[in-house]
Subunit: 419 residues, 2 copies
């Protein structure tokens, strides 16, 4: 079985590689036409997609899946329309392929140009949200790469229809359908084979919970970009505008809790703790946030639970937060370096030197100065499309758009130059 | 033993992390002063370095090490002076840290800046050349990262002295000595522990033979940049200037054979085979190159051996080459895509459309048009320093200089912005 599955995955990867050669040399016009056709076809197929999704949802409920997970799986007309619009929006974005990254004439007269080119074949391993299927396929297509989609078994019927519809549309625009392929998902081994297909697949991106991401990072021999886990901190400095700090903490924690850029931990400078801790504790309680705090927070409110190191390390993704008083910005930096997942940290301060110290001292993909952690997002940053948020330092760090899905090649032109 | 070694490696990585925080915020002036001090100290310590190296060389010869490997290990006054100059040359290069990669004001008034920052802790795993020790330490220091050096056991005595001298110089310039550390090399497990130290080490770069690189790529959980293997092709098109083609083939194959950018395979368009194959065969024979060729090459010269697919896949690193006649540029592209390691390919042609087709069609880090493959090199490209040549597509592709040893962070400044 496993060797059959290997052949299935390798076969798909080889077809993707062949298809990617045509895609790599396709003009922007052809790619954009394929995206527009795919968006229109998805809207036209709404009933089929929702019907297939109904079967996935029924099966998930029958299997006892929690309702919040079922909700991520569920599609309706509005959700299909939303991801179809996402696909056509990508057609409007500039084409990253062909961009000259740097160029010069070398002392010996060689003309050196570094040009942006497609990655080739990208594997996506993700969980139950079927909108990721359309998003990822569209972003990879625009970036000139073929994609192998390995979604969740729970969304298999939805994904099959979405991929079938997009493949037909892509083919109608004159590109090989095999630039978008769905891998079987009933067996975990198909994901493993994808991660191990070094030489056939150029990049694997896991999107989902911490467990999925850890597995991919540990098992993959194909280069990986780690995404998503966000144990994000807000540090309220002694020189903070405390009204602003209150708004930012409440927004970062409560505006949307299930996302990676939500705040999970609050650090407050001791000099403002007497004033700020009672205020922020009351405000968070008003939003039904459970606080795991140090003794100062417990003294401010009897409902605060004592915080352990485990709490400081936890990405709650819920109405919960850990909280601690620190003695200085350097203490805050030390805490962040110890517990952060390297996604986003925020500082609230009126002093630019302190902001600069915090920015240089923490080691994260994004640092917000006097702004909510919630702004770390490809859409907010103006990238137009986002395939995930990288929390590693290699290749891409922070929100990843089209550019991050490409690589470069050096073209060197001479007149018979030899060494 | 293995768990002791784990503690040794993890302890070194933690010290490197702490030291890297000071290094990350050091000014260019401090870093350059440390590099100049290190270069001077290496020259001053020449006798000690050469004496330690003599012991390494004697032990290697006693162990029956082949002379070409011993030569790579061997240091003399001139070689020490050469790598010391390399270290001081890096002081002259611009500092990549702090470069603003992009910046804009978002529609909501947030000020977004993507800034180049250090990688943090870089692990180098390499073989017997002790000059790599000084090179890698200097490049990482300038790029603001601490380095963990895991060299060959055969060079342990040389590496110990080089690292000791550089650490003292770095400390004298006011930086923590622990930004440069040598890991024990007598046990293979220290390399394994380094590759598995995800979270403590940000990047591992293997430099050496294909076997070493494959092991690191397969076993590492720390992100890796694959370097070095070069099965480079020269394609002589029907529209080539055949005198130019002859010069380029001979140069690419024979000017230096043990390097990754030497040519290993020759493809000749059928339309010029009658004229070119006998000429190139004779010229390569004059340089004592053994040819593994197809029937056309065998017909041209009785000394040509028949080429197998294994030959086409081989990086000889010696006076040997595989050779084949192809029917078209597309045939050449198909051959290259099948057998190349993705390092460097060259085309010799007078037709720009053909050059463009080849450039887009092959999938390699560098493509030379009418120039020798030997030009793929950080020094030739004007990077000033090179830590290796990446043959993967993630993060860096082609020669890697200081910029490729860094990552970026997004700094976002607001005035109390919330979503």
């Amino acid at each position: 079985m496993s060797s059959d599955l290997r052949e299935v995955v390798h076969g798909a990867a080889r077809r993707a590689r062949t298809a990617s050669i045509d895609l790599a040399t396709a003009t922007r016009g052809t790619k954009d036409a394929a995206l527009v056709a795919a968006a229109e076809a998805l809207v036209a197929a709404t009933d089929r997609i929702v019907a297939a999704n109904d079967e996935d949802v029924t099966a998930a409920r029958d299997a006892g899946t929690p309702e919040n997970v079922v909700d991520r799986l569920r599609l309706d007309t509005a959700r299909v329309a939303a991801f179809a619009t996402g696909v056509s929006d990508i057609a409007v974005l500039p084409d990253p392929i062909g961009e000259v990254v740097r160029g010069s004439v070398l002392p010996n007269g060689l003309r050196l140009t570094q040009v942006r080119v497609p990655m080739g074949v990208i594997g996506m391993i993700y969980e139950g949200r079927p909108n990721v299927t359309a998003d990822a396929a569209a972003i990879c297509l625009k970036a000139g790469s073929a994609v192998l989609l390995r979604g969740s078994a729970s969304a298999a019927r939805s994904n099959e229809v979405i991929v079938e519809v997009m493949r037909e549309a892509v083919a109608s625009a004159g590109l090989p359908a095999d630039v978008i392929q769905l891998l079987p998902s009933e067996d975990r081994a198909s994901a493993t084979e994808l991660m191990k297909a070094r030489g056939l697949v150029d990049l694997v991106i896991p999107r989902g919970g911490a467990g999925l991401i850890r597995t991919v990072v540990e098992e993959s021999t194909v280069p990986v970009i780690e995404t998503g886990t966000g144990n994000c901190h807000v540090y309220v400095d002694e020189d903070a505008d405390l009204d602003m700090a209150l708004d930012i903490v409440v927004n970062a924690k409560t505006q949307r809790t299930s996302v990676c850029n939500a705040a999970e931990s609050l650090l407050v400078h001791r000099a403002v703790a007497d004033e700020f801790v009672p205020r922020v504790t009351a405000a968070l309680r008003e939003h039904d946030v459970l606080i795991h705090g140090d003794p100062t927070f417990i003294a401010a409110d009897a409902s605060v639970l004592p915080a352990s190191d485990d709490d400081y390390a936890t990405e709650y993704l819920d109405l919960e937060i850990s909280a601690r008083v620190v003695d200085s910005v350097d203490d805050a930096i030390t805490h962040v370096r110890r517990f952060s997942s390297g996604h986003t940290e925020a500082i609230v301060t009126g002093t630019s030197a302190t902001a600069r110290r915090f920015t240089l001292g923490v080691d994260s993909a994004a640092v917000m100065v006097n702004a909510s952690t919630r702004f770390t997002d490809g859409g907010e940053f103006g990238f137009g499309a986002e395939i995930g948020i990288s929390t590693q330092k290699l290749h891409a760090r922070g929100p990843m758009g089209l550019t991050e899905m490409t690589t470069t090649t050096y073209v060197v032109e001479g007149d018979g130059h030899v060494r």
